[in-house]
């Protein structure tokens, strides 16, 4: 039960964070200059977008939950299970952003869920 709660936090918070960071990065624009000073300036620009802070905070929560679950479970179990964030992403896209999720994408999501079930059963 404890690992299920922690894995839920890793998946839900991680997916929410990724969506927020993606939104912030699209707002800042494409990176064309890879010199250290230009990169630092780019990261500084990204940090001025509120979505980046929300995203990073959610990713931090996901990270600490990951640390906690890694203290009780094997990494080869934990990391594949976190692939559930693709299912969370598809559900979030459909129900919160009103996106149309294609049948092919649902097939992929179902495969991920089936795989996670097999990993969970294979652990016992």
């Amino acid at each position: 039960m404890r690992e299920a709660i922690l894995l839920f936090l890793v998946v839900a918070s991680g997916t929410g964070g990724e969506i927020c960071v993606t939104r912030a990065m699209k707002h800042v624009g494409e990176v064309t200059d890879f010199r250290p000073l230009a990169l630092a300036r780019f990261i500084f620009q990204a940090m001025k977008v509120p979505w980046m802070w929300i995203g990073v905070s959610m990713m931090a929560l996901a990270f600490f939950s990951l640390l906690a679950v890694l203290s009780i479970e094997n990494v080869s179990f934990v990391v594949p299970v976190t692939a559930l964030n693709y299912a969370a992403g598809a559900l979030g896209g459909k129900f919160f952003l009103g996106e149309r999720v294609t049948p092919r994408r649902w097939t992929g999501v179902l495969l991920v869920c089936l795989g996670v079930t097999l990993v969970w059963l294979g652990k016992r």
Partner: protein, 138 residues
Amino acid sequence: MKSSAGLHFKTYCMLLIMVVFAPLGNILLGKGMKNVGSIVFWAPSRLPHIISLVLTSGYIWLGVAFLLIFFVAYMLILSWADFSYVQPASSIALLVVALLGYFYLGERISPLHWAGIGVICLGVFVVGNTPPRTTEVR
């Protein structure tokens, strides 16, 4: 106009960094946290001791550094590539984590577990091969 070959090259470089550093970071965190031991949430008195163990673990610091490198590469690639294009790369990272867990950490992985990892990788790959945009821009 941007060079297509140049764009492909920098995309592949970033994907390679992501696929190498994310699994290594996770493996190092796993090793570090195993050394720390199980975290008992209902014993707040043990929390300072656990935090000090986490903060003094070289494996955890190295894991965090590797994940930061992954995160910077991830941020950079998302500035020009579609999220759904970047996704399939993480399916390879899942397999790399399992292989490293098996060979480096000596974790026991049952055939059912391997089958599950294979199906997850396939699922992530299918998700990544769908059109990046399915909703009309208003």
